[in-house]
Amino acid sequence: MSAPARSLVSPDPKRADPSRTPAARPRATPSPHHRVRARRGTPPFWVMTAVIVTAMVVGIVSLSALAVQASFRSDALRQQLGSLTQRQQSLREDVAAASAPSRVMGWARKEGMVMPERVVIIRVPSDASGLGG
């Protein structure tokens, strides 16, 4: 008696191995208690969204506040710079005006100074050993 045709077909090794069959793989069935814990461990979508949005809003507001604060500080420094520049300029103007020849001459005259009638520039020899005693 011939063997049945089915036996003539070589069996698929993957199918033949029951251990490779997913259905045969042992699957741990989560207990109801575990399912509750998993749901509690993952925050709901709306909570995540709220946290992210809040963080972004707080961040943006903070950055904006910092920018405004820096702007105010920049303005204050600019004003300080302007004030110091004004002061420096005023002092420079005062010095230039005070050293003007007309002012110096007026002061000298007031102090009784006069232009010398006779001026002679002479060169003193560098070797002055013969001079004096």
Binding site: Q86, A100, S102, M105, V120
Partner: protein, 568 residues
């Protein structure tokens, strides 16, 4: 319930689709095709760009002392459309700015959206205006020029106009160099015109201008002006000009014309005072020109220092009578005597001996008829009579009539004699200093050989003779030998005819044997016409100050030239 006809629904649907389609198309047009236009429109309403003026470079004297500074200032303006109460605001602003209330009110009430109230206001005053917080009033950052010494070398420096543009003098000549490049600041403004904190701000810094270092010595300039002013007043003259320069380098130490002006308030002076007459105006030099006649005669060998001339009191040339200032009979004179006693007749005899060609060549070599190239706007070239010269032209030119030169040209002639015979181009600018602080020295002056050193030595002896025993004794300075020449010239009227008005002059240098400084003094229409009386004392005072200012050492005296006339 009866259903509406289908065609009505279709019509409604089409209408709705068309309406929505129109809106979509319009949105597309606004957002895509015309987005740039609207963005720009919004930007112009919100974004404000203000110019940042460049700091104009300084003008310094040769020692580094500032003669022209640039200060920050503010223009005060008004937007009349924003003014609420013109009368009240004018009453508050006018006393702060020192203006008349009605003038301010007129500006506040003017049509349009912009009007200046006051320009170039000091920062302190501007702050007071800002503190008033008046609607419509604003401040624009600008700069203003300040001349700390006031009217010292005003015609040389010139001034800048209210827009900061150099208008006269070196301010004009070097305007591009001094001005720098303006910058700008772009900011975003709120609807109230306030800057938006944290808004966009783009600053393009202005590029400051370069500074210019002059050859002018501020103190010497000031003293020269003082003495010139005194002389003009004492001689009841119309005006005067002075030039002080270094004969070796061509450096101009001082240059001024009286009357002058204060560049800080130039608008309150007549514009005739702005002219630097030492460079831009010419005059008939008169007897100071005889030095060139002598130079031509000696250089060409036509006349020797020992040669004697028989000089009559008068002489006829082509129907015209030439005479000396003081009447005299026949005199025996050397060339030195002719120069020392300033004989017109003698000079014409020397010119005859020298000849036209040699005379013309010598005058041309000294730069007559050509600007010196000092680098000053409007420099005059002077006038030389066209060749060929007649006998009369040669005679008159020999004593300084019929030619015209600038005071600077004539000072350069004497500098040439003082330095041994080399013409040195005079200069006013020693260097420039870039915004980076790096100094760039000016190019060395142009020079050319005019006379042999032996000729200048003989001329120097003759000029020393002028001051020791001739017409220039008022220029003597104890301890120093001065060489110089007096001049008196008649003035011409507008039609070219001589009138009874004179220009007196004295040009000289010291010490005669080792010259350090040349001083040219020209007094316009003095009561006493002689250069030896009106101008020589000014030379003496200025040169005496120059001795101490420049530390000029005394030097051995040169001998007097051969002379036939008795020396007292």
């Amino acid at each position: 319930m009866k259903r509406p006809p289908v065609h009505r629904l279709v019509v409604l649907l089409v209408a709705v689709v068309l309406a929505i389609g129109g809106i979509v198309i319009r949105l597309a047009v606004l957002q895509v095709r015309e987005s740039g236009t609207y963005a720009e429109l919004g930007s112009t309403q919100r974004v404000h760009t203000e110019p940042l003026p460049a700091l104009r470079g300084e003008i310094l004297d040769r020692t580094g002392v500032p003669m022209a500074l640039t200060l920050d200032a503010r223009d005060v303006y008004v937007n009349p459309s924003l003014v609420v109460d013109a009368a009240t605001e004018a009453g508050q602003i006018a006393p702060v700015l020192g203006l008349k209330e009605k003038d301010v009110r007129a500006a506040l009430s003017s049509p349009g959206t912009f009007a200046y109230i006051e320009r170039q206001v000091d920062l302190g005053v501007a702050q007071h205006v800002a503190d008033l917080h008046l609607p419509g009033i604003g401040l624009l950052p600008v700069v203003k020029r300040y001349y700390p010494a006031g009217p010292v070398a005003p015609q040389v420096l010139g001034f800048v106009n209210v827009d900061g543009v150099g208008t006269t003098g070196l301010e004009r000549q070097y305007d591009q160099l001094l001005a720098g490049s303006p910058g700008e600041r772009t900011v975003e403004l709120s609807a109230q015109g306030q800057e938006i904190g944290g808004g966009r701000e783009v600053v393009q810094d202005p590029q400051p201008g370069s500074s210019v270092v002059l050859t002018i010595d501020r103190d010497l300039q000031f003293q020269a002006q003082q003495y010139l002013q005194k002389a003009v007043r004492e001689n009841h003259a119309k005006g005067g000009t002075i030039v002080v320069l270094d004969p070796h380098t061509g450096d101009v130490y001082a240059m001024a014309s009286y009357p002058w002006f204060d560049p800080n308030s130039f608008a309150s002076f007549d514009s005739t005072r702005f002219v630097n007459r030492a460079v831009t105006d010419t005059w008939e030099p008169g007897s100071v020109n005889k030095t060139i006649t002598a130079a031509a005669a000696l250089e060409s060998g036509a006349v020797t220092p020992t040669e004697r001339f028989h000089v009559p009191g008068t002489r006829q040339v082509e129907g015209y009578t030439i005479h000396d200032a003081e009447p005299h009979g026949m005199e025996t004179m050397t060339l030195g005597d002719i120069i020392a006693h300033s004989s017109n007749v003698g000079a014409s005899l020397v010119a005859d001996r020298t000849g036209n060609r040699r005379m013309e060549e010598t005058f041309a070599r000294f730069g007559y008829g050509t600007p010196t190239g000092i680098g000053f706007p409007g420099e005059a070239a002077g006038l030389m009579p066209p060749a060929p010269w007649s006998h009369l032209t040669r005679a008159t030119v020999s004593f300084g009539a019929g030619v015209a030169v600038t005071p600077l040209q004539m000072a350069s002639v004497y500098a040439t004699i003082a330095n041994g015979g080399t013409w040195v181009q005079p200069r006013l600018v020693d260097a420039t200093i870039g915004p980076d602080g790096v100094r760039h020295d000016a190019a060395p002056p142009v020079t050319r050989r005019v006379l042999r050193p032996s000729t200048t030595q003989t001329l120097t002896q003759m000029l020393a003779y002028v001051v020791q025993d001739g017409t220039g004794v008022s220029a003597q300075i104890p301890g120093y030998q001065v060489a110089g020449k007096t001049g008196t010239a008649k003035k011409l009227d507008a039609s070219g005819h001589y009138v009874s008005k004179y220009v007196a002059s004295f040009i000289g240098f010291l010490p005669a044997s080792r010259p350090r400084v040349v001083v040219a003094v020209i007094i316009d229409e003095p009561r006493t016409v002689f250069g030896g009386v009106a101008a020589a004392p000014v030379f003496q005072e200025v040169a005496r100050y120059a001795i101490q200012r420049l530390g000029i050492e005394a030097a051995p005296a040169v001998p007097l030239p051969p002379h036939a006339m008795p020396v007292p």
